[in-house]
Amino acid sequence: MTGVDALLLALGAVAVGSAVLVVSTRHLVRAGLYLVVCLGAVAGMYLVLAAELVAWVQVLIYVGAVVVLLLFAVMLTRAPIGASDDLDRPGWPAALIGGGAGLGLAALLVDAYRWTTVDLPEAGSAERIGEQVFSSWVLPFEVLSVLLLSALVGAIVLSRPDIGATRTDHPGAGDAGRSR
């Protein structure tokens, strides 16, 4: 076992452990912070595998943007900071499904590869990824822009009940929208 393997294993353990904590903790804020650890550990794994761009994207977008957004949402909705006991549901179905899926996938992959050694491809540098995206995968990349645009517009439409409300501005429309 090389140092890389050990590092991967350790990061994997951190990721799985913090993921379990995310779903098992009763503090909303703590769950968000554990998520930072989990996603950060995954980013570390990417780094170990020399996929630097993916690693930084992971840190910037998931750790930086998404989790911060989550925490803001928690603050803005005035969710309780302390433990929220009423939130908990029985955990065993989730544990069963999550554990089953994880172990099953692991078993499948182990079965498929056994002890074959796979040479690592070239490092996942920004250049290489850019090349891939703009030579082999231009089409899905461009189509994704339509997807993002529609997601953007859709999010605005859903969050602004006043858009498209009848011009006469009767008060009912706005209230009804908010009460959803």
Partner: protein, 490 residues
């Protein structure tokens, strides 16, 4: 890889339909912003949909065009089938726009955003038909579906609509995750993502024996089966259809379902081994039609009945694929795919007509309501009622709905040609169950109302036109089904 030039030749003519569709979406957004007049927005969307359909037909009439190629594998293959799908999706969008007339006029729905989201979805459908690799395929399916999460939730102030949107969103995201996981595992097994390349790679016996391959294939098929609303991945459909505004429900059960079918067809035909997918799909098809029909028997709400019936219809669409494993040679397999596609074409036509009829007979902006609310509707509106009854009979697969009859005949023929007689019998028995509720619905339209006087509804002109066009087209392909069969086989 690094010595390859980053500049590649792109066949812009092949991409024309996609450009037209995406351009329409952007144009709709701009027109809405600049002119801020609902009529202008709708006109833009309408003409864009027409242009897309025409463009697709024009490009598709030529030879097959391939672009975005890596070696011999291409991400975008625009041939006869892609043209058919693109044109069909564009026409369905046109039909849905017509059905949306009363909804948009009733206010409460943002016209510009509605049209924009619908045309975005159309873009997904256009690209989907031509997708040549798994990534493009999944992205296209997502582009087709994502705007619908919002559209489903557009009935402001309706709890059902919001619930429908959330259900649809959650289920659809899970389905996409499954498909993506499957695609990733397939990549892990084969190292390929292009459909045809996957097909050649998976012909290898050693790979097929891996449990991982089986799981990957199952995940991809299951994820896409969600989109088609095939049993056991169907539970979202009735609630979502019923909660959505009627035109959006029409779109869900036609264009969106067609998209799922096309994605499934592409994956099964080009990429996945028929020995694995055939039996799975046969079972799924048999379950889907039986469960869909049996549950539809008990429905009391119009849209729920149509939703369950469309679940059942998905079973008929998938049925020809069930014969894949038994099909003797490549010819028989091609025939099975053509039969599935032909059935899908007949189905979306009749389903659109059925929804158009329901929209026409309901007050502007209302939901589908209970079946009883349509009692005697055909006596008050003989033409619209006749159109709706015709569509329902067609869905049941009986004359005078010859289009539906030929659709069933196509499926049964391909099944018996492929040696899956038992599935043909299942289809046959299901046709009988199906008739029970379609007939109940159609007879209800003509029964007397008794002493209850229902509210007077004037069918909107656009809706009536959509119904008339759909009915006339259904009549034409009913007498000349060879048109559809040829298109589907191209």
């Amino acid at each position: 890889m690094s010595e390859q030039s980053l500049v590649q030749a792109v066949d812009h003519l092949a991409l024309l339909p996609a450009y037209l569709a995406a351009g329409t979406a952007v144009l709709v957004l701009l027109v809405d912003l600049v002119l801020a007049r609902p009529v202008a927005t709708v006109v833009t969307a309408t003409s864009g949909a027409v242009a897309t359909a025409v463009g697709a037909a024009a490009v598709g009439s030529g030879a097959q065009r391939r672009t975005f190629c890596v070696g011999s594998d291409c991400s975008y293959v625009f041939g006869g089938r892609a043209a058919l799908v693109a044109a069909l999706v564009a026409l369905l969008v046109l039909g849905v726009l017509a059905l949306s007339g009363p909804l948009l006029r009733a206010g409460n729905t943002p016209v510009g955003e509605f049209c924009f989201l619908l045309t975005c979805s159309m873009t997904g459908g256009v690209v989907l038909g031509a997708a040549g690799d798994l990534i493009t395929l999944i992205v296209a399916v997502e582009v087709l579906t994502l705007p619908l999460y919002v559209l489903v939730g557009l009935r402001r102030g309706s709890l059902a609509s919001a619930e429908a949107a959330v259900t649809f969103f959650v289920v659809s995201v899970v389905a996409t995750a499954l498909t993506l996981l499957g695609a990733a595992l397939l990549y892990a097994v084969t190292g390929g993502l292009h459909l045809e390349r996957l097909g050649t790679l998976l012909a290898d016996e050693a790979l097929l024996d891996l449990p991982l391959t089986t799981v990957a294939v199952t995940l991809v098929v299951a994820g896409l089966a969600f989109k088609v609303a095939a049993v056991p991945f169907h539970a979202w459909a009735p609630a979502t259809y019923d909660g959505a505004p009627l035109p959006v429900a029409a779109y869900l059960s036609t264009a969106s379902k067609l998209g799922g079918v096309i994605a499934l067809l592409a994956v099964v035909q080009h990429a996945l081994p028929p020995e694995v997918t055939g039996p799975v799909l046969a079972l799924v098809a048999a379950l889907t039609m039986t469960v869909g029909n049996l549950v539809a028997l008990r429905q009391r709400r119009t849209v729920r009945l149509l939703a369950w019936s469309s679940v059942a219809q998905a079973g008929y669409i998938l049925a020809p694929l069930g014969a894949l494993a038994l099909a003797a040679d490549a010819d028989a397999r091609t025939a099975a795919f053509a039969a599935a596609l032909a059935y899908a074409v007949f189905f979306v036509l009749l389903e659109l007509a059925a929804f158009a009829g329901v929209v026409a007979l309901r007050p502007a902006g209302a939901d589908g309501g209970r079946l009883d609310e349509l009692r005697g509707a055909a006596r008050r509106h003989p033409w619209v009622g006749a159109g709706l009854a015709f569509a329902l009979i067609g869905l049941a697969g009986l004359p005078p709905g010859l289009a539906g009859l030929f659709a069933k005949v196509t499926v049964v023929r391909s099944l018996l040609g492929g040696g899956a007689g038992w599935l043909a019998l299942v289809v046959a028995v299901n046709a009988v169950i199906g008739l029970a509720y379609y007939l109940r619905f159609a007879a209800l339209l003509y029964s007397s109302t008794g002493d209850v006087t229902p509210p007077v509804v004037r069918p909107a002109r656009a809706v009536a036109v959509a119904l008339a066009v759909a009915t006339v087209v259904a009549l034409v392909v009913g007498f000349a089904p060879q048109i559809v069969l040829d298109l589907a086989a191209s």
